[in-house]
């Protein structure tokens, strides 16, 4: 004998679990379907043969383009390859490549071929998103670039191109200060002297972009770096690094060198182009910015000065990543070898000012761009970016601390990065 009213209420309450169950089974259906296959297919195994479907492949290529010139160059090359090989290739320009790739990896349908920045590379590799491959003539790529895209002894992708840091000098300011070619700084002392000489009430002598990607060059010149990539250890607190940061701090303290925000600029190139600073340390990309935004400013490029431990610069690069989940890996490798052939790299250099990643293209490149010799020289002794997995937050924190390098304690900055990065490596 039950009260029917209670039963009424109970049956109504029962609809809630039923709905929940329905929703959960829907969830399970989602989970069990599409995505799982991608994860099960599993990448990151170097011995696996490249996946290749029957018939012509339809490749999706995702690039982060610097502008129309780059988009056109890559698209044209991909079309030429497609016609030659009987496949198709669709080049898509990403607005935010990190985010778009992340969505692709999670959904199990990433683009077949894409730009991978050296900074993002280690996390992609560790998570098994990349299909490791080497081209037939892999040794032709600069060793430092190959090393950048190598993790635990496996090279994951072919370097696309690279840039290095060099010193840009405003010709007018240089001459006005009575300096000649003989005065181009080759040591830290000379850099300080020249910066002092160039400094006027309206113009700083040198502008150094903020963060680890500029300060790091001084660490390399003093024989150190944030990490030891080969050993997989953090070496930030080495005495040489403290000295290097102290030197940078001294430059800024003297007032001859400034950070971009001090002269109301977003980056070194802007401060240099608007002539708020007479020298800057930027990479090849400054060529495009200068000719587009500040065509009237004449400047020369020199190698960075040597530090106590010799020459040193930083090297920035990207590679052609192939998705572990791609069904067209064989075709993608073929397209990469087409896109990275020496002729194509020279075409790209002409179109959007990047340097060939192949040693065999160096001679042609130097002949075509004699002014860029200081940049390509950096390829010999440049230090690639930090490529240990899981360090993104620690590096971001380092950058944020380096904003205050003028007043902060260099040893303190390095110690806090050492602690954070070591903790991240252990996770």
């Amino acid at each position: 004998m039950t009260n029917p009213l209670t039963r009424a209420a109970r049956s109504r309450r029962a609809t809630v679990p039923v709905l929940t169950l329905a929703a959960l089974s829907l969830l399970a259906a989602c989970g069990g379907g599409g995505f799982d296959d991608g994860a099960a297919a599993g990448g990151g195994d170097a011995s696996a043969p490249p996946a290749s479907a029957e018939g012509p492949a339809a490749l999706r290529v995702l690039i982060a383009s610097s502008g129309d010139a780059e988009t056109a160059a890559v698209t044209d090359a991909a079309q030429a390859w497609a016609e030659e090989s009987g496949n198709t290739a669709e080049v898509v320009v990403a607005t935010d490549i990190t985010q778009e790739l992340t969505q692709g990896f999670a959904g199990g349908s990433p683009p077949d071929l894409f730009y991978v920045d050296a900074g993002a590379f280690p996390d992609y590799a560790v998570n098994g998103n990349l299909y490791p491959y080497e081209l037939d003539d892999n040794d032709d790529f600069y060793p430092s670039l190959r090393e950048t895209f190598t993790l635990d002894g496996t090279q994951y992708c072919a370097p696309k191109d690279f840039s290095t840091l060099a010193l840009q000098i405003n010709t007018a300011s240089w001459e006005a200060a009575g300096l000649t070619d003989a005065d181009i700084p080759t040591t830290w002392e000379e850099l300080q002297t020249v910066a002092d000489t160039l400094t006027t009430p309206d113009q700083a002598g040198l502008v150094i972009g903020g963060g680890r990607d500029r300060a790091g060059a001084f660490l390399v010149q003093n024989g150190g770096f944030w990490v030891d990539g080969a050993e997989g250890t953090i070496t930030a607190t080495d005495e040489t690094n403290v000295e290097a940061l102290a030197y940078v701090q001294g430059l800024l303290d003297s007032g001859s060198a400034v950070l971009p925000p001090d002269v109301d600029s977003g980056w070194g190139g802007e401060a240099f182009g608007t002539q708020r600073a007479a020298m800057t340390m930027e990479g090849n990309w400054i060529r495009g910015a200068m000719s587009n935004d500040y065509p009237d400013v004449a400047y020369t490029v020199a190698e960075l000065p040597e530090g106590p431990a010799g020459k040193g610069t930083l090297l920035f690069t990207q590679c052609w990543g192939i998705a572990a989940d791609s069904p067209n890996q064989a075709a993608a490798v073929d397209l990469v070898s087409y896109l990275t052939q020496p002729d194509q790299q020279i075409t790209n250099a002409e179109a959007f000012g990047v340097m060939p990643s192949r040693q065999s293209a160096e001679e042609d490149y130097v002949a075509a761009f004699p002014d860029d010799a200081p940049f390509i020289a950096g390829g010999e002794y440049g230090q690639g970016p930090v490529t240990l997995p899981g360090l993104v937050p620690a590096l971001a924190d380092l950058d944020s601390q380096l904003e205050r390098i003028k007043t902060a304690d260099p040893a303190g900055i390095l110690e806090s990065f050492q602690t954070n990065a070591e903790a991240a490596l252990q996770q």
Partner: protein, 403 residues
Amino acid sequence: MSTVRTPSEASATTGTRPPEGPLRTSKGRFGDRNAVGWLFVSPTLIVLGLFLFVPIVMALWVSFSDWNGRGSPFAGTVGFVGLDNYTRLLTDEGLTRSDFMTSMRNNFYYVLLVVPAQTVFALFLAVVLNNQLLKAKGFFRTAFYFPSVTSSVAISLVFLFLFAGTGVVNTGLDLLGIDGPIWFADSRGLLHLLGDGLGFWDAGAPPAGLTSTSILGLSAWQWLSGPSVALSVIMMLVVWTTTGTFMLLFLAALQDVPVEVEEAARVDGASRWQSFKAVTLPHLRPTMLLVITLGIIGTWQVFDQVYVMTQGGPGKTTLTPAYLSYSYAFESGQWGVAAAMAFVLFLIIFVLTSLQRYVLRDKDEAKDRKLERQAARRRPDLEARRAHSTAVLGNQQSGGGSL
């Protein structure tokens, strides 16, 4: 169980023990009606379930897992890590916690200043617009509402230019003889600067007692920084853009206040301010509750302005939990921690909103209800009798033959 139902309703929902005769047909009819009802709400249910319920369940699972962003989070390779992601945020010493606490500090100061400012401004503008004597009301209403309907990305870009080192704002300050800061590169905290100005401390050499005390990964000195100069620009922008929306809400509520009541107050000799305080404001309480609730929820979730203008810099002083969660997920692939941040943020919003509802509740109504409850407690026998009779009534009405 004190509701009294008609027999047909009760049997239709119980669905057991089919009654005889005409009741049977009525049951069938109502059963169909239920099915039709479900059919009508099903599009909403499916859409809500698919785009709201399922993602929330997925995110909750991710916050307890070590999913690395590859393939489905429900795949067999994804491991359950318990509360690990939450402890990294809240208890484990390290960069993750200090990042999260920095973002909490920034957002706390942000909410503390933005919510009152936008509420007061919105109310002020609404009162001005509600003035009988004001000419060109339509123009002002549109003008005040305009920032709210413009894309926040576009407005953010305009602010970037306005507050550039040599932008309009600094040029204006220059005319007044003030040397303006480089707004978006200035990480100095306003409280630090204020304390410095008043002589409490020297911001260049902060008191050791504050720097050496560490609370949840940040020193007391860092907690006390106040919003940075860069964050205060974002606050100005947000107050400016949200005020219009809230002004409309207040305006609608003000137009509902009966004119007679206000007139009566004036006739009774209340001054303009007294009648506003004692008559108009109490009428606005539900709207106030809504505006503050929406304000708290919106400000704790601030993301797009940070994404467009500062990406968390300078010196992490514009980092907010929403932006930090995005960057941990998409830039460093730490999905579990990122999802945990989102749920901690949800809890904070939930607690603060509940607290705020409690503070702003209708105190008279609450008192009445309390008195009623006390009265009921004093007459327990009466209540019991009433409940008993209802049950008996229910049984009889549903044709209770089982007795």
